[in-house]
């Protein structure tokens, strides 16, 4: 990947992030923050590569810590987001109960 192509990816991804969130109702702000917190858990693959390519003890120690933290970000982020959104399913199916306003 050349530098300029990487910059294009960076730019397009930045606009995408902005667009995706710009139409979010307030009620989903916390779950969405949690969801985006999960998405940057992709740092796990980078930490795996860094630890995988480690050749000395220092790199292994730092890499190990990196993978532990990244796995925590990904798994924890998923669990709490899933739990929060679980409730929205419940409220959605009951939305008709109280009638309109």
């Amino acid at each position: 990947m050349t530098g300029i192509v990487a910059l294009y990816i960076f730019m397009l991804a930045a606009f995408t992030g902005y667009e995706v969130i710009s139409r979010v109702p307030v009620i989903l702000h916390t779950p969405l923050m949690s969801g985006s917190n999960f998405v940057h858990g992709i740092v796990l693959v980078g930490a795996m590569v860094a630890l995988g390519a480690a050749t000395n003890t220092l790199e292994r120690v730092i890499g190990f810590i990196g993978v532990v933290l990244a796995a925590g970000n990904a798994v924890g982020g998923y669990v709490v987001t899933e739990r929060m959104l679980e409730m929205f399913k419940a409220s959605g199916s009951r939305a008709n109960r109280a009638g309109g306003h």
Partner: protein
Amino acid sequence: MGALNADLLIQACYLVTAALFILGLKRMSSPVTARSGILWAGAGMLVATLVTFLYPGIDPTNYWLILAAIAVGGVLAWWSGKRVAMTDMPQMIALYNGMGGGAAAAIAAVEIYKIALPAVPAVAEATTTAPTAVVHHGIATTTLAVVGGIIGAVSFSGSLIAFGKLQGLITKSIRFPGQQVLNILILVGALVLGGFVALQFNASPGIVTAFFVLALILGITMTLPIGGADMPVVISLYNALTGLAVGFEGFVLNNAAMIIAGTVVGSAGTLLTQLMAKAMNRSLGNVLFSGFGDTGGGTTTAVTGTMKSIDAADVGVMMAFAQKVIVVPGYGMAVAQAQHKIWELCQLLIDRGVTVRFAIHPVAGRMPGHMNVLLAEAGVPYDLIADLDEINAEFDTADVALIIGANDVVNPVARTDKSSPIYGMPILNADKAKNVIVIKRGKGAGFSGIENGLFYLDNTRMLYGDAQKAASELIQAVKAAG
């Protein structure tokens, strides 16, 4: 499978992952599809993680280390995420976010130490390494590694402080004169050391270590003086920063999935942070660089009058025969876990023909949408829930505004008192309702430490007690009202 085929498979899977992440976030932005959104994103994460084991640059002797690390981090996070109460979600998000920032900093550290400590057998190993794993440490790449490293490290230590504050482990906002100057000095110091590393003037291990230590200290000193009321904005900011750090380290590792996912989160998080700061009528710089609440507005005009208390039976009758009740929940409801009882109370009122609405301030609780999550947990349909712009015109027509553990977000001082630190913050106009009932544990000031003029108004009555207990009493009172 040859290294080239493996590489192609990995790139293809990362492409799929990036698409699943973006589609997942998109689905999470609508209540109807939100639940499937996290499943899509989760599938993307699974695909990316599994295919990364095929990475040609991974030394097979490190496989067990990777698996062990994933098991340790994953099991701990799974266990903590499953058992945490809904009310404690904000600090858990801060914690997991900090871990992501730490991981990005760790990647930066590994890559930067490679410059500082060139491995002796590097020539022998290089021949066994496939093209994708060869990282060219040019100035551009090291600069990105350094910038990602400092952002990740700040996000890591800063998020841990935010976690400590919300968890109640750190109760004081530590401030002293010249704090901003100190922060700037630390930042400049870290940048200078980072510059040395990036331009490879002198990348001795000592300098690299000092660089990371300074960055970690910066996260701590930046976050310590920020008051609890501003924590939602701060957590959101660190979320965006972690995304950015992940994106930068993605450039360093030449990993498209990290670049895309990190950047998407970085920009989405920045927008979310701005929306939140705007809701509090404060700029981001103001949140970060000025003390809020604790020291601000020491000259705030004294609020005069007395607070008048009322008991649950009277409130029950008042609500039972009201036309319209607007409920304003705040952090007090979260602390008392009162959302279920409150909804039970509201269902009783709805069955009696009372119009009930929930008014949610954008920064009620400790995060935007915090209240919505709790109300959703209790089963409140989201069409009964209104945000600030929607509901503010309706307070005039409400017979009762029931404030449950909310304080600063209904403080009319924000409209009138220019010397108040919250002056100008949009508030819910609960004071316009015919009767205002405030359920509150004690007579103390709010999280920001500011006296609330609403509590002293003629049409306000205080119902002291724990929100859950008060709600139970109100349920009895409404039932008794016949």
